[in-house]
Symmetry: C2
Subunit: 117 residues, 2 copies
DNA sequence: CGTTAATGATACGGGTCCGTAACGATCGGG
DNA sequence: CCCGATCGTTACGGACCCGTATCATTAACG
């Protein structure tokens, strides 16, 4: 069941949601951080630094730094994997889940407003 | 004719497109720059620094700097308004139009791939 | 053991962006 | 004319992020 959307609608949706994010000061998250956050909350755990780096096609320091800043915002947490203490398992948080949910609602709401364009 | 999309679909769409942008190295554009670019290409001209700043709810230097960097990328151009030489009119470019079009196609394509989630 | 491999974190130099404040150029009204 | 208002830009200090290279810790294996 494909989701049908026309190019002009896609652009208006993209613009409106980005405008919302900017206006609400929630543009703290870069494109990379957004991709990381949504991967953590949409894909099945466990998530590791290396795994995320591979999925995004970026280097490990990028993930480490993104987790640092998102951790400061309370969106994710890190915990050492006790079975293999080299690994770090990235965990979800309530605040992170709420932020993701809010983003989803934003997109849904803006999509609803977009008529035939 | 509202565009119907469920929260889980919205999130998968948002993630996939952001993943594409990151992987293709097109994440040069921040959320602010994206909002500015799409406003220029979707809303009726003429566009001014002050007008864009008001629409985005940011200060004028933010717009000036964004136009600087997007200008370097060839996505927009600036021209002095000869009728009131205080104003600067932001103009579209072929490269910018292509970039916007590419983004639209990306969103449309990813939306099509998203089934019932 | 000791050696190799793998993981995530850190150091460094460079670039970009931010917000506030100030600036030069231009217009308009008295 | 001139003075205030408006426009876009620039200066400054600080924060963040990048990519590369390197590090400490831990695991795996001979």
């Amino acid at each position: 069941m494909p989701l049908e959307i026309r190019p002009s609608q896609a652009l208006r949706l993209w613009r409106q949601v980005h405008l919302d994010l900017v206006r609400d000061g929630e543009s703290d998250l870069s494109a990379r951080q957004t991709a990381i956050l949504l991967t953590i909350y949409l894909e099945l755990p466990p998530h590791t630094v290396r795994g995320l780096a591979a999925q995004l096609g970026v280097t490990k320091p990028v993930i480490t730094r993104a987790l640092d800043s998102m951790g400061k915002l309370g969106l994710v947490t890190r915990r050492r994997d006790e079975t293999d203490r080299r690994n770090v398992v990235i965990q979800r948080t309530v605040a992170g889940a709420l932020a993701v949910e809010r983003l989803a609602d934003r997109v849904v709401e803006r999509a609803r407003e977009i008529g035939a364009g």
